[in-house]
């Protein structure tokens, strides 16, 4: 398992980048999980989660 951190201010595109990387890795047969701050949890909709088989966990204040 590799731990990848994506930082930035609000609106910098963290979720967009993580979603893109998860999708690209998934197309190579690699599985991903995401720990996201509670605010960003809504950006990982059920459709995306199911399509890419990704596990998403949120952490309050994180």
């Amino acid at each position: 398992m590799k731990l990848i951190c994506v930082s930035g201010t609000r609106g910098s595109g963290k979720t967009s980048v993580v979603r893109e990387l998860v999708a690209r890795l998934g197309s190579e047969g690699l599985r991903s999980a995401v720990i996201v701050n509670e605010e960003g949890r809504v950006s990982y909709d059920n459709g995306f989660v199911k399509e890419h088989g990704v596990t998403v966990k949120s952490i309050r204040g994180g």
């Binding site: 990848i4 951190c5 893109e20 599985r31 996201v36 309050r60």
Partner: protein
């Protein structure tokens, strides 16, 4: 990042490793977390479970850089310092003049960010290469 929050993050990381063991675990923190804090938290747990750290990626919002540089410079520098990759995100929406301003502002920190855009694909190969360059565990 507070102690209890860091402890929660470490606990969650261990649970994901033991229950799912994905190839990649992404951490997307809130905007106030700086890279050194992340690096410290990322390392906690390595005595208990086996995983690799990095790269730590910092995204700079090119459209808002001027405001952030003026008002929140310490936060930006804290996120840039120690990052393995620093990118100007949503680069397709950022003009040449804004990009030049970012390069000039960061010149003293010896940071040369690259352009990243999901929309036009700029910089994605660089990130994917950084992810794959590290040995698998």
């Amino acid at each position: 990042m507070g102690c209890s929050l860091a402890a929660s993050l470490v606990s969650l990381k261990k649970a994901i490793k033991r229950q799912i063991d994905p190839d990649y675990l992404f951490i997307e923190p809130s905007e106030m977390v700086v890279t050194q804090e992340l690096r410290n938290v990322a390392a906690q747990g390595q005595r208990d479970i086996k995983y690799e750290i990095g790269p730590l990626i910092t995204l700079l919002d090119g459209r808002q850089f001027g405001f952030h540089w003026k008002e929140r410079r310490a936060l930006l520098l804290g996120q840039i310092s120690g990052a393995d990759l620093v990118a100007i995100s949503r680069a397709d929406l950022v003009g040449d003049e804004e990009i030049r301003m970012i390069y000039e502002a960061l010149n003293e920190s010896a940071t040369v960010p690259f352009l990243l855009s999901i929309r036009n694909g700029a910089g994605l190969k660089k990130v994917m290469l950084a992810l794959s360059n590290r040995s698998r565990q």
